[in-house]
Amino acid sequence: MNNLKNTFREISRYPSAIFGGIIVLLLVALAIFAMIKIPYSEAIRLWRGGEEVWYQNPKNVPPTWYNYFSKTKLPESFAVKASEDGKFSKTVTPNADGTALIDYEYEFDFEADDFPQEMFFYFDADYVSKSPFVTVTLFRPDGSDIKIGDFGVSHKFTYRFSQDERLVKRVDRLMHREIINPVEGLFAVLESQPSQPLKGTYKLVMHATTFEKDSDLDIEFVSHGQVSGLFGTDHARRDLTIPMLWGAPIALAFGLLAALGTSVLSMIIAAIGAWFGGWLDELIQRITEINLVLPFLAILIMIGTFYSRSIWVILGVTIALSIFTGAIKTNRAIFLQVKESTYIEAARAYGATDWRIIFKYLIPRIIPLLIPALVSAVPGYVFLEASLAVLGLGDPVLPTWGKIINDAETYNALYKGFYYWILEPAVLLMFTGLGFAMLGFSLDRIFNPKLRGM
């Protein structure tokens, strides 16, 4: 107990140990938070989901906090559904002949310095044979109003602003010039060139007429802005929050398991070899030499290309190839020294079995050296997993940081200026690497008597 306290006191004298420890703790907290907030199956469903899951998001837009650092405020993306959002006011006026008038009104503020990319209505109509009819008008802050369109609504009906030729023409007439994106015209000062955003409160008014008794209509209004979510979106409209959050538990699990497996197994094998000696020791040494010749990364790439990209297979192969490396030689040298100590002789004298000596007397001696080595090895494995993902050999199912970087590289994010796409996972990877490296580094200086005070 006292020993532990002393160790902690020693650790607290190294600021980099504290800093590294805090980063590691934060990462663990992030990992736990991710796993609680988005359960595994849900995360996979969202990550693998296509347009039907992510239709509310624009493609390749930076996160919303981008606006804090930018002079021109970009419009945020949003999606509101009449049946779920209280800001939609709905009035139903039934007529005697079974038809009814349903009026929807929705007010929203537009304060951005740029224009939304695209807008949609998703109608969900409930009827048997006669579909409802809708007229939509936008009331603008300058008092003018623009009719967006009128259309019959089938059961599931999607209305895209930019695809409506009549709306494009109407906007062109208002602006007195040709505008490619009608959404730009809808939110611009009339006849301005280049388009000036017209800030203020807008009101969408929809008049729907239903022709059957129980007929009803639900509307979802989706605006693809130029910023979205906490982490932005990728080329497939996916919210990067999911891989950013879930990358933490995956990276930590891979790094820790690989480091733990490698160091513990190589320690045990080195101890066995050193203790029994003879052909067993010789064999272990030869395997180590063979393993040093084998191309580590090339084999991992081959495994990923030929056999399986499952993270568990890669983890297993990584551990298997990392056991018989330099570490086993270092450990063996220490064990050979410890083997000659008197307390081992004493143990042998009272008749302790070989395995008892190995696990109770030899291995515990090396654990103080093992801990810093283990912590320092974690970043290497975290980056190894990311490296494989960057080469396109990441686990096809899991959302990881390396996968984001790979996607970004594939779609030339740096060239096109989508910096957030690469920077976000890179910063998290960097923190993970730095945290463990700093902690391991200071632990090494504390536990390794050779380095004391150096």
Binding site: I290, V293, A298, F383, V390, L391, L414, A437, M454
Partner: protein, 374 residues
Amino acid sequence: MTSETPPKENLQIKSTAADTFKRLMRFMSFRVLMLVVTIVVAVYSTIMIANMGGYVDTIMRNDIRESTIMKVAAMTANKPISGDARRQMQEEMIALEEKRLGLDTPFIIRSFRYLGNALTLNLGRAIYMVSDHGSKAVRAIILERLPATLLLMGTAELFLFFTSVFLALMLSRSYGSFWDKLVITLSPTSAAPPWFYGIFFILIFAAVLKILPFGGMVSSPPPETTIGYSLDLLKHMILPASSLVISAFFISLYNWRTFFLIYSSEDYVDMAKAKGLTSRNIESRYILRPTLPTIITNFALLIISLWTGATITETVFLWPGLGRTIFRAIGFYDTPVIVGTTIIYAYLLALTVFLLDFVYAIVDPRVKVGGGNK
């Protein structure tokens, strides 16, 4: 040193010298045997992995069948030919193609043939990959990529090695100074691999500042004068080389500095200091000399590590080196290229290890070759 030995012990020394020579020879032949076994096993393992234990055969067979059927269908599309004849034609062509690629012999036999070819450096021909000059010989493919890798890796690694050893010596002299502490603080930055720094460098210097290219080795079209070409090459090399250097710089500096510090805290160094020798003298005689074997080993291993290239860094920077070639070869299931690069690496490594062993056995008085066991 030897001149200090008193003359009366000369005879004894001669007999121990002969003894040492015999022991040395025995040790060396044992080492050679072991290295050969190591190479054979390692190369055979690589062959097995690169062929997925024979499964690549199945992939290739299916590939041949599919392409041959398409070919025959296209050839006979407008010809009056019976279905049987067409089928016979297909089978004949498939058999011919399989024979060409050696698929008609069982994999186990072939794997030993591959091993034999590899060990005799008969690298053979690639299955799909072609060198830029249109050759399918693995040797040509490798030789074509080697200069690019050696240029990039060589520049970066040699610069890294010499700078860090030199600076580390200076740091170990001023232990505890501001620079020393700075290096200790910065050494965890080496946890990130080169490609990671590469991405940041591309972001800053290529995307934002637009002063250096995103990747590649020369501009397109390449400059016509030699000087222009060299300058262009240099410009393309700055980012990948500096990311290779930066990612290992601080840890390497730290390791060398610690290494020198351990040696400079030995008693004989204190003794030399007490004698009043100059620090330059102490450094060259009492610190550098005992550490020289380690420095040489590290340097030798560094030289052969150049061979494999830096797969991911080369991929990120689109550098046409060996590392990327290996990666592409794996993507094409092109076993001969994969095995070819591995075998050369294995030979280089084994040769270096052997030479180092040999040199140490001769040079280092502390390495008593098998002497103590008798």
